[in-house]
C-alpha cells in the first residue's frame, strides 16, 4: 500500500522537495495531486535521509507548499508496450494524445533500459540503401548503426531525414515491408515541424508503421528528458521482441541537451562546458548506445538523431560529445545549402564508421571502398584549390588545380545534388562517381589499386 504525503518543503524550477518520507527508492515515480484534483507525475532524482527531490514532469506551476498530496508509486518510469503502438501518436512520456484512447499493453518496461552486453551484440554489416548518393557512397548507413545528422537552423535536415525514412524502407532484405517500423521522437521542436513529419509519413503511406512521441517546444521541459527514452524503449521492444527493423528518428538532440542543462542547473549541480552538466556524455551515451543488433533477434534498431549545431559550431558540446559516441555523422554545410545543393551534405567532415565492413565485394560492389576514398581525397584537394583561387584568382591556377575546380563543381551539381524524391540505386551512384573521376588525370587517383582503375576508370578527355 502506498502512503500519501501532504504538502511540500520547497519548490525550485521544475523540482519539488518533500520531506518526512520513508522508504522512497531512487528514480521511483510519484504522482502529485493538486487541490483542484489535477494530477501530475514526477520522478525522484535525489534522496537524502527522509527528504526526496522530485522532478515534476508537467512543471511546477500552480504548486504551492500546502496545496498538494504526493503519492509514491513504488516503481521507476515505465512505458506500456504493444504492437498496437504502431500508427499512434503519444505525448513525451508515452500517453496517447491522438484521441484514440489507450492501447492494450502486452508488456511494461522501465524506460531507462539496460546496457546491452557487448558480447551479445552482433557487429552491424548490412548496408541500407537510402537512394541518396552522398550517403550511400560516402557515409554509408548500416543497419543497426547510429548515424546522426549534424545540421543548423534553417537547413533541410527534416527533409533529409524523411527522405531517408521513405527510401530506406524499400530495400528490406527479404522484401517484407511488415518488418519495417519507424519510431519518431520530437523533443522541443515546433508544431509545424512535427506536423511536417506527420504529413510526410502520411503522404508516403507509412503512417501506420510509425510510432510518434511528441514533446513540442511548449511542452514541459522535464518530459523532454523522458521522451527519447520512451521512444527507444518502444524501438527495442519492436526490434528485439517482434523482430522488426526499426528506424529511430530523434529530433532535436540539442533541445534535449538544453533541457538536461536546465534541470541540472535548478538542481544546483556544478556545470562543466557551456553550463552543460558533467555527465552529458554519459547521458547522451545512454541514449545513443541503445542502437544495434543483438544475438537471438532478427530485428535491429538504427538511429538517425538530428541535432542543430548552435551557430553552426561543430565544437559545441552537443555535436562534439555526440560525435564521440555515434558511429559517424552526416554534416550539412551552410555554404552548399546557400548554393542550392540538396541534400547539402558537407562530405569532408562526414563519416560513417561502420561502412568499412559493410561495403565492397559481397556487400555493394568491389570498387566501392576505393572509390569513396578517392572521392574524399579528390574533394579535399578541390577545397585546397578553392582557397588558393580565392587568393590568387582562378585564372592563375595551374592546369591541374583548374581541373580540380571543375571536378568540384560537377561533383556538387551532379553527385551531391539530387531531387527530394530521387531514389538512386547504388550502382548508379558508383557509376556516377567514376564518371566524375574521369575528369581528373589517372595519375591523380592514388587511392585506387591498378586493377580497379583499369576496370572502372575512363578518362573524360
Amino acid at each position: 500500500m502506498s502512503i500519501e504525503y501532504m504538502g511540500l518543503k520547497n519548490i525550485e524550477g521544475p523540482l519539488a522537495v518533500i520531506d518526512g518520507v520513508g522508504g522512497a527508492s531512487y528514480e521511483e515515480m510519484v504522482t502529485v495531486t493538486l487541490d483542484s484534483g489535477e494530477k501530475r507525475i514526477g520522478r525522484i532524482i535525489e534522496i537524502l535521509g527522509d527528504m526526496a527531490v522530485i522532478q515534476v514532469f508537467e512543471g511546477t506551476s500552480g504548486l504551492s507548499l500546502t496545496n498538494t498530496t504526493t503519492k509514491f508509486m513504488g516503481y521507476p518510469m515505465r512505458l506500456p508496450l504493444s504492437k498496437e503502438m504502431l500508427g499512434r501518436t503519444l505525448d513525451g512520456i508515452g500517453r496517447p494524445i491522438d484521441g484514440l484512447g489507450d492501447y492494450f499493453a502486452d508488456e511494461v518496461r522501465d524506460v531507462n533500459g539496460q546496457p546491452i552486453n557487448p558480447v551479445s551484440r552482433e557487429y552491424p554489416q548490412n548496408f541500407i540503401q537510402t537512394g541518396i548518393s552522398s550517403i550511400d557512397c560516402l557515409t554509408t548507413l548500416i543497419r543497426g548503426q547510429k548515424l546522426p545528422i549534424f545540421s543548423g537552423d534553417g537547413m533541410p535536415h527534416d527533409q533529409l531525414a524523411i527522405q531517408i525514412a521513405r527510401q530506406a524502407k524499400v530495400v528490406d532484405s527479404d522484401g517484407d515491408s511488415d518488418k519495417f517500423a519507424i519510431v519518431f521522437a520530437a523533443m522541443g521542436v515546433k508544431h509545424d515541424v512535427a506536423n511536417f513529419f506527420k504529413k510526410s509519413f502520411e503522404e508516403s503511406g507509412v503512417l501506420n508503421k510509425v510510432v510518434m512521441f511528441l514533446n513540442l517546444s511548449n511542452d514541459p521541459v522535464v518530459e523532454r528528458i523522458i521522451t527519447p527514452r520512451c521512444a527507444l524503449t518502444a524501438a527495442e521492444y519492436l526490434a528485439f521482441k517482434h523482430n522488426m527493423h526499426v528506424l529511430v528518428i530523434l529530433t532535436d538532440m540539442t533541445s534535449y541537451a538544453e533541457a538536461l542543462r536546465e534541470i541540472s542547473s535548478s538542481k544546483g549541480e556544478i556545470p562543466s562546458r557551456k553550463g552543460f552538466p558533467g555527465y552529458l556524455y554519459s547521458d547522451l551515451a545512454s541514449l545513443y548506445e541503445r542502437a544495434g543488433i543483438v544475438e537471438g533477434a532478427d530485428g535491429s534498431v538504427t538511429q538517425v538523431p538530428i541535432l542543430t549545431m548552435p551557430n553552426d559550431d561543430i565544437t559545441h558540446p552537443v555535436p562534439d560529445l555526440t560525435g564521440y559516441i555515434t558511429e559517424g555523422q552526416i554534416v550539412l554545410g551552410r555554404s552548399l545549402h546557400l548554393t542550392g545543393v540538396y541534400p547539402p551534405v558537407s562530405i569532408l567532415p562526414s563519416l560513417s564508421r561502420l561502412m568499412k565492413d559493410g561495403i565492397g565485394e559481397g556487400f555493394t560492389r568491389e570498387d566501392h571502398p576505393a572509390l569513396s576514398n578517392q572521392l574524399f581525397a579528390a574533394y579535399s584537394k578541390v577545397e585546397d584549390a578553392k582557397s588558393l583561387a580565392s587568393v590568387i584568382g582562378e585564372d592563375e591556377l595551374s592546369e591541374l588545380d583548374k581541373k580540380y575546380i571543375r571536378f568540384g563543381k560537377e561533383f556538387e551539381k551532379r553527385f551531391l545534388s539530387q531531387g527530394l524524391f530521387e531514389n538512386r540505386s547504388i550502382e548508379d551512384t558508383l557509376n556516377l562517381g567514376w564518371e566524375l573521376l574521369g575528369m581528373l588525370p589517372k595519375s591523380e587517383l592514388d587511392r585506387v589499386s591498378d586493377d580497379i582503375l583499369d576496370k572502372y576508370y575512363k578518362s573524360a578527355e
Binding site: A24, V119, F240, I270, A285, G323, P349
Partner: protein
C-alpha cells in the same frame, strides 16, 4: 574478516551516502542494498560514509543495508584471464550473458574466472625451496600462445613444506604450502590484488627497446618504447580507435590488455570478432590468445568506468611479473577523467578547470607511472607499456585532460582533423607529434634496423618541416612561383606523405610493415631526394621528373613490394638512377 554494517541514507546517481557505522575504511569494497550492488568507499566523514556504486542505483531505498568486509576492491588473478572479455570490475561478460541474456542486469553474482575448469599444472617448486613474493612455483599453458606462471602472492614468503604433484587443478585447489615462522599458507593458482595498488617489482630498468608496431609513422618517426607511456589525442572521427586497434593487432608485445573505457559497444564487439579471426603470423594462433579485453561501454555505469582503467593495469602488471612484455591500450582516458568529474560533481567538491576535480593530474600520473620496464621480484624482466587515447573536447588540445596527460607521457601521437578529412590515415600530424624516446632507442635501432636509421628519420622530418613552411607561401601565391629547389622539396615531401606516412590498414601487406622494409622505403625516398637535388643543381627544371611517373612508382612501393622479399628494392633503386640519368642526358 569482520563485517561492517551500515544503512543507506542518501542517493544521488552513483553516489550513495551511508550512515550507521564509522568503521568503513577508505577504498573498502562494500555491498550496497538488498540487491548487493558492488561499491567502493570514497569518503569517510564523521557520521556519513560516501560510497560510489558500480551498478545502476535505480530502485535503491533509504534504509537498505550496506555491508563491508574490510577488503579493498580487488581483481582475481589466475589462469583464464586471457582471451576473455570482462567489465570494469572484472566480471566476465560471457557469463553475465548466460545469466541475464542480451542486457546486463544489476546485482548479478558471477565469479571473475571459471572456478570449475581444470588446468594442466606443472609444479616446478620443490619441498624445501625458499620462496618469496613473485617466485614462480608452477606453470600452466593458458592459451596456445602464453604459458601462465603461478607466482607466490606478495607478501607471502617462507619455505615450501608441501607441493602437489603436477596434474589437473582448478584455480581454488591448493598446489603448495609455504611455512613461515610456524604459519602455513596455502598457495592456489589464484591470487587477489587490490586494483589501486601497483604490484611490487624489484627495480626499474632504463628504457632501451622500442615497441615495434609495423606502423611506419610510429616506428620510424615517433617510436613507442617497451615500458613507455604514450598518448593518442584526437577529435572525433580522426581515427583514435582505428590506430589503437592497429597497435593492438601488430605490436610486438607478448600480451595485450585492451580497455574500452566509456566507448562504443559495437567497437568492443568488433575487437572481439576480429581478434578471434585474425591469426598472428609469428605463432599461427588467433590474436585473442594473447589479448584480454575490458569493456565498460559508454552506457554502462559510470563508476565502473573509473575502475576499469585500474583493473586493466593490474592485469597488465600481473603478466609483467611473469616476465612478459605487456601493452595496455586505454580507449579512452578522457571518458575515465569524465567519470572522475561526474563523481566529483556529485560529491560537491570544489572543481578546478572545466569542472574537473583538482586531483585529475595526480590520478593521471598514478596511472601512467604504472608503466615501466622492470626487473621483477623473481628476477625476470618484463614491461608494461601504456598507450592511452585522449578525446579532447572540440578537438582542442589545450583542454585539461590532454594538457595534464602530456606531462606524464613521453610519446605524443597527435591526430589531426584535416588529415582525417582528406582520408590520410593514420591521421597522425607529423609536426605536432613527438617521441622523447628516440635518444633512448637510437642504439637499438642502429643495431637492429640500420646504423643510420635515426639519421634518415631526421632527414625525412626535416623535409616535412621545410614543406610546411613552404606551404605557407604556396597558400598565398601558388606553387608555380617557387624556385626549383623548393619545388623539389615539395615533390619529395609529397612522396613521403603519400608513400611513407600514409598506410593502408585494410591492405594485407601494408597493414603491417616490418622494420626492414621501412628502412628500405626510407632509403628509396632519400635516394629520390638526392637525385632531385642533383638535377636542381644542374639547373634542370623539376617538372621534367613529373612526366616520368617515377614518383608514382615510389609511392606504390607499399603495395608492389611484399614484406618478405626485399630484393625488388635494388631494382627500383637502379630504375630511379636510370630515370634521372636519362633526364640529365637529355638536357
Amino acid at each position: 574478516m569482520e563485517e561492517t554494517k551500515g544503512y543507506i541514507f542518501g542517493i544521488n546517481g552513483p553516489v550513495v551516502k551511508v550512515k550507521g557505522s564509522d568503521k568503513f575504511g577508505m577504498q573498502e569494497m562494500v555491498y550496497v542494498g538488498d540487491d548487493r550492488l558492488i561499491g567502493e568507499v570514497i569518503g569517510v566523514k564523521e557520521e556519513i560514509t560516501i560510497v560510489q556504486v558500480y551498478e545502476e542505483t535505480t530502485g535503491l531505498k533509504v534504509g537498505e543495508p550496506v555491508v563491508g568486509y574490510g577488503r579493498p576492491l580487488s581483481v582475481t588473478l589466475a589462469p583464464g584471464i586471457l582471451s576473455d572479455i570482462f567489465d570494469g570490475i572484472e566480471r566476465p561478460l560471457k557469463d553475465i550473458k548466460k545469466l541475464s541474456g542480451v542486457f546486463i542486469e544489476r546485482g548479478l553474482k558471477v565469479s571473475s574466472l571459471d572456478e570449475e575448469r581444470k588446468w594442466e599444472v606443472t609444479v616446478t617448486a620443490k619441498i624445501g625451496d625458499e620462496v618469496s613474493g613473485g617466485t614462480i612455483i608452477a606453470t600452466v599453458p593458458e592459451t596456445g600462445l602464453i604459458t601462465h606462471k603461478i607466482m607466490i602472492p606478495p607478501p607471502v614468503s617462507g619455505k615450501i613444506v608441501w607441493t602437489a604433484p603436477s596434474g589437473s587443478y582448478n584455480i581454488n585447489e591448493c598446489i603448495a604450502r609455504v611455512e613461515n615462522g610456524g604459519k602455513v599458507t596455502d598457495i592456489t593458482l589464484k591470487q587477489e590484488w587490490p586494483i589501486k595498488t601497483p604490484r611490487p617489482f624489484s627495480k626499474r630498468q632504463p628504457i632501451t627497446k622500442p615497441l615495434v608496431t609495423g606502423q611506419r609513422i610510429v616506428d620510424a618517426m615517433f617510436p613507442l618504447a617497451k615500458g613507455g607511456a604514450a598518448a593518442i589525442p584526437g577529435g572525433f572521427g580522426t581515427g583514435k580507435t582505428m590506430t589503437q586497434h592497429q597497435l593492438a593487432k601488430w605490436c610486438d608485445a607478448d600480451i595485450i590488455v585492451y580497455i574500452g573505457c566509456g566507448e562504443r559497444g559495437n567497437e568492443m564487439t568488433q575487437v572481439l570478432n576480429e581478434f578471434s579471426e585474425l591469426i598472428d603470423p609469428k605463432s599461427n594462433r588467433p590474436l585473442l590468445d594473447r589479448t584480454v579485453l575490458i569493456a565498460n561501454t559508454s552506457n554502462m555505469p559510470v563508476a565502473a568506468r573509473e575502475a576499469s582503467i585500474y583493473t586493466g593495469v593490474t592485469l597488465a602488471e600481473y603478466y609483467r611479473d611473469m616476465g612478459y612484455h605487456v601493452a595496455l591500450m586505454a580507449d579512452s582516458t578522457s571518458r575515465w577523467a569524465e567519470a572522475l568529474r561526474e563523481i566529483s560533481g556529485r560529491l560537491e567538491e570544489m572543481p578546478a578547470e572545466e569542472g574537473f576535480p583538482a586531483y585529475l593530474a595526480s590520478r593521471l600520473s598514478q596511472f601512467y607511472e604504472r608503466a615501466g620496464y622492470v626487473t621483477n621480484l623473481n628476477g625476470t624482466e618484463g614491461s608494461v607499456s601504456i598507450i592511452g587515447a585522449v578525446s579532447p573536447q572540440g578537438g582542442d588540445f589545450s583542454e585539461p585532460v590532454t594538457q595534464n596527460t602530456k606531462r606524464f607521457i613521453r610519446c605524443f601521437l597527435a591526430l589531426d582533423k584535416s588529415l582525417a578529412y582528406a582520408r590520410h590515415y593514420p591521421a597522425i600530424a607529423w609536426l605536432d607529434s613527438y617521441s622523447e624516446y628516440i635518444p633512448d632507442l637510437e642504439e637499438w635501432f642502429a643495431e637492429n634496423a640500420a646504423p643510420d636509421f635515426i639519421e634518415k628519420r631526421n632527414r625525412i622530418m626535416a623535409i616535412l618541416q621545410e614543406e610546411s613552411s613552404l606551404m605557407e607561401i604556396v597558400k598565398l601565391i601558388g606553387a608555380d612561383v617557387l624556385p626549383d629547389s623548393q619545388k623539389a622539396t615539395l615533390e619529395v615531401a609529397k612522396v613521403i606523405r603519400l608513400g611513407f606516412l600514409q598506410q593502408n590498414a585494410f591492405h594485407p601487406d601494408d597493414t603491417y610493415v616490418p622494420l626492414e622494409k621501412q628502412n628500405k622505403m626510407m632509403d628509396i625516398i632519400l635516394q629520390y631526394d638526392k637525385r632531385m637535388a642533383d638535377i636542381v643543381s644542374r639547373g634542370i627544371v623539376v617538372s621534367k621528373v613529373a612526366g616520368t611517373g617515377i614518383a608514382d612508382e615510389i609511392v606504390r612501393v607499399k603495395y608492389t613490394i611484399g614484406n618478405d622479399d626485399m630484393t625488388p628494392f635494388a631494382k627500383l633503386s637502379r630504375r630511379i638512377d636510370d630515370v634521372f640519368d636519362e633526364i640529365i642526358e637529355n638536357s
